[in-house]
Amino acid sequence: MNTSLKAARFALIAFVLVGAALPLYLLAKQSMTPELETFAWPPHWIPHHPTLSHFISVFAVNELRSAVLRSLAVAAISAVIATSLGAMLAHAMARNSIAQRLGFSTVSGIRLLPMIAVAIPLGIILATVGIYDSPTGIGLAIVHAAIAIPTAALTLYAAFVAIPLEIEEAAWIDGASPLRIFLTIDLLMARTSIATALILCFILSWDEFGFALLVQQTNRTLPPLLYYYTVFGNVGPASALALLMMIPAICVVVALGPSLRGALTAGSSR
């Protein structure tokens, strides 16, 4: 009984390792294979004539460069807004039970909304205001900020709960205003969680596909761009782009490691 269990465990771990390595290998291989060879059948498992032209085209093509910049801008702006608002909400939730219930209800309620039910009417509203499909991606940044607040709030909630009330009370008695206490004490003590929240919100925006597809039709961010590259049959450039898109996320996972665990379980959503 125990040996079969051991075998099952081994198989599972092997499956996990292969499952992580194989996609990376296939994408890397595809990004270095010339298009003509990529369409060969049966597929080549090792490129016969490897090339760097797809990576060069990724950097040379204007549209891709602007998509990278746009993705960076949208992710950075939305992460900052979401973390700021999330910190506010999380602090209130940590200090007051009514706020806590209200906060959890709103956050849970927001998670019930399907993207498609929001994105189509939102696109029309953004068009009326004039920020639909904007070259700067500002409309998308605001949307991403809104959907990232739950993640930021839940990540920071735990951090603020952990700050002892006595520290705040001591500062009260010493004459500091509640706002000052929040800014100088709470934020300082929760700074690692704030960093985690910023990173999580950044990655959420960087990876987000649905709203990006519907709100930025021509001035695209990276996920819709990759989608169009794929469905437009540009295998090599799509693979090169996919590899590049993985880099921020992989860095973060490898660097943050265990501290990511709690945060991921708290705030992840589609």
Binding site: R9, L12, V16, L17, G19, A20, P23, L27, W41, P42, P43, L89, H91, A92, L102, G103, F104, T106, S108, I110, R111, L112, P114, I116, A117, V118, I120, P121, L122, I124, I125, V143, A145, A146, P150, W172, I173, G175, P178, L179, W206, D207, F209, G210, L226, Y227, T230, V231, A238, A242, A249, I250, V252, V253, G257, G262, L264, T265, S268, R270
Partner: protein, 295 residues
């Protein structure tokens, strides 16, 4: 005298703290509601707009056989996906929590499918499951007949979509369950071992019951997310291959240029998610140990 000053200060600060708290709650909530809930409500209104207030948009949907396919798939695929996620996630959580297998490499490898952007995984999955993709390439090399993994006429497509959707999300389930596993006191395992319980008995009578709240909590979160499946199906099969409500709505908006009908379809999806979500939350109340702490 000092006490009165302190008390007065306390009351004043208390009031201003309350004001700050109100702002801290109201501003983010108003922001979220304005950006997300109001458009959805607008969409709800538009779904009843067919040259005036009417239910015609919904009737058009109900007359469309693809709508019913989308509705059915929107229950079948998330259901299958959640089962796979949890089976795999639980297995991984148990395996990785056992002290022997503690390895940063394996943990990172397990988390990787989630760290990678979903669109990247889907792009790769597409190249794997195409009729002339890598999987059929490997199968052909062994001399067997290739399979129609993504063919719109084959039920195999639903299976493929379930597996790909689950694979991306399994790491999250694994992490949630690992967090739950760590709250189980080791004394219980000791007691079980002293009582002579084997591996499976320990799992059935110690691990599983103690893990139930975490499982239920994760089930609700992942279940709600799974219902909103969109990009997996869009990239792998297109809106017509394995239709689900979100891609059906998208296709009505983008291909057919019918925004009102698209809103109607998305409202039905929202209704489904709300019903199942609230139902799940209510059921979870009976299971959770700590009141309200589902996060």
């Amino acid at each position: 005298m000092r006490l009165r000053r302190i008390r007065a200060r306390f009351t004043a600060v208390n009031a201003s703290a309350k004001r700050l708290r109100t702002v801290f709650v109201v501003v983010p909530c108003i922001f979220m509601i304005t950006m997300l809930v109001l458009p959805a409500l607008n969409g709800l209104l538009l779904s009843f707009d067919h040259n005036g207030l009417s239910l015609a948009n919904y009737k058009i949907l109900f007359d469309d056989s693809m709508f019913w396919r989308a509705l059915g798939n929107n229950l079948l695929v998330p259901f299958g996906s959640v089962i796979v996620e949890f089976a795999l996630g639980l297995a991984l959580a148990l395996t990785l929590t056992a002290r022997r297998n503690r390895s940063a490499l394996i943990e990172t490898a397990a988390i990787l499918p989630f760290a990678i952007p979903e669109i990247v995984i889907l792009t790769l999955a597409r190249y794997i499951f195409l009729p002339r993709g890598y999987l059929n390439g490997a199968i052909t090399m062994t001399g067997m007949h290739p399979l129609p993994w993504l063919s719109p006429r084959s039920p195999l497509a639903i299976f493929t979509v379930i597996v790909v959707d689950a694979w991306h999300v399994t790491p999250v389930v694994m992490l949630m369950l690992m967090a739950g596993l760590q709250t189980i006191p080791t004394e219980l395992y000791e007691a079980a071992r002293l009582d002579g319980a084997g591996t499976f008995a320990t799992f059935r009578f110690v691990t599983l019951p103690m893990l139930m709240p975490a499982i239920v909590g994760a089930l609700i979160l992942r279940g709600i997310d799974a219902l909103r499946i969109f990009s997996t199906v869009l990239v792998l099969t297109g809106p017509e291959g394995v239709p689900v409500l979100s891609t059906y709505s998208y296709s009505l908006w983008d291909d057919a240029q019918k925004p009102h009908e698209a809103m109607a379809a998305s409202m039905i999806l929202a209704l489904m998610v709300t019903i199942i979500g609230i139902g799940g939350l209510l059921a979870a109340r009976r299971f959770s140990r700590d009141d309200g702490a589902l996060a």
